[in-house]
Structures are given as structure tokens and as C-alpha cells.
Subunit: 131 residues, 2 copies
Amino acid sequence: MTALKYSRQRESIKHYLMTTDKHPTADQVYMHVKQEFPNISLGTVYRNLNLLTDIGEAVKISTPDGGDRFDGRLEPHNHFLCTKCGRLLDLELDMKSIEEVNRLAAENFDGRITSSSTLFYGECSDCIKKS
Amino acid sequence: MTALKYSRQRESIKHYLMTTDKHPTADQVYMHVKQEFPNISLGTVYRNLNLLTDIGEAVKISTPDGGDRFDGRLEPHNHFLCTKCGRLLDLELDMKSIEEVNRLAAENFDGRITSSSTLFYGECSDCIKKS
DNA sequence: TTAAGTGCAAAGACTTTGCACCTAC
DNA sequence: GTAGGTGCAAAGTCTTTGCACTTAA
């Protein structure tokens, strides 16, 4: 049982995640928070990202390319990964649809589903324009 | 332009992926194929898993815990990750539902969605029994 | 005061790659 | 014969961790 203590670094990381839609990697978070805390270390960033994820104040998103991405948007939502440029975008799918999908999935499954996350693949509008 | 040449090692890897439902990691594939090819190297396994993935004969699944998992089942389907024991299971969701989800997602999105993969989280039946 | 957090650097886990040799075609 | 594949080991990338120091409470 370990009490959570305030830290300016953690607040800064959390604030960044909550105000960006970039789904940054740990390293991108590090680069950003470094502007405010030039001495912060990557280890601290990782520790805090994992801590925030554990207590439900951030979400970790795994993609098939490269390192994990982090998201400070906490409502259930889904993501789109552009297979051309690697950009990860929020993708709206209303709560009702998400619940419906979970319900459908649960029908023939004997475990307990608590959440789901869909990753859509394709080409983002920027990449479509360029081609 | 690089022509694909037959290799017994690659066939063995592919066969293993097609006949197991274990969603093995690269290392687990290595351990298995090693029984048939004692000298095979982990590098070869990775090279072939990536090759198979590239040509669409295997699917790479990223999860928030540990390394990527590989799947030889090619029809669109989804997965369930037990957050207790880490097991990754196939989870049925009929094609129509998948298409419906993709359609819903595409509605308010200006990119092009080509596929989707949903990862469900929760507790598997074995872990429920034990608790 | 003291448990929790930090910075740093070393270690770990996972994956890729260069190279000399081997094999399908 | 030769482009492609393999085994091996070294290198790369991403992440975690031990430790001495700092800080919130």
C-alpha cells in the first residue's frame, strides 16, 4: 500500500497528455516535458506514464510499429493508425456502438469482458491527398 | 523486386501458425520450430514472421504487455487479452458485425479504413474459476 | 522525519542486421 | 551460377530498475 504523493513532473506529464491529441510515445512526452523540466529523465517519464496508466489516468496504446503510445483521453474511444505515415488518430465511435460491439462479443464468450479497444487501419486523409 | 524462394524453415513456421490457436510470441515460435530444425536461429524466425506478415500470410498482434504475438488465422477476427494471466484468445464476432463497426467508424472519418482489429480486455474463464 | 519521487546510468527485453556460408531454382 | 535464405553474433531500440539524493506531507 503505497500512498501517492504529488509531483510537479507527473502533473506536467498528465497535463500534456490531457491537452494534446498527438498520442505521443514516451520519448515524445519526454521531449515535451523537458521544456519545463530540463533535468527530467526518461526513466521518470516511463515511471509516471506507467503509474498514470495503472491508476487509470492515462491509456497505453500498442501498435504494430514501434513503441507504445499514450493517451490522456479517458472516455472509451478508438484509434486509427495510418499504415502509410504512422500517424495515430482518435476515431469516434459512439458509446452505444462500442457497447453493442462488446455485447455481441460477449455473447459466445465464457470469460468476462470489461473493455475493448479497436484499432482501425488504413490511409489518413493527408496521405490520400498526397497520392 | 525480390522473388520469394521456398524454404523449409519458413514452411514450418507458417504451418505452426496455421495449426495452433496459441498466438505465440516470436520466441515461442522459435522454441517450437527448433524441434524440427534444431539449428534454426531466432533471427531467421523473426525474418520469416515479418516476411509472412508483409505478404499477408500471418498477422502480428500488439498487446500492452510484452512482445508481439503472431497469428496464422487470416480471416478477420478479434482477440481477447486476459488481464490476469496474459492469455490471448480468439474471440468470435461475425463478419457482419465487424463490417458494421467499420462502417460506423467510417461515417465521420475522412480517411480510408481498410481493416480493423478489436482487442477485448477482461478476465478469462480459467481465471474467473480460480478466484 | 520518512515514504515517495527523481536523475542517472546500467541492465533487460525484444528485435533487427551484417556477414560468411548454404540452397532453391 | 546466382539471388535469396540461414545461422550466428553483434548492434539497435525501447523500457525497466538499482541507487544515492531530493522533496512532499
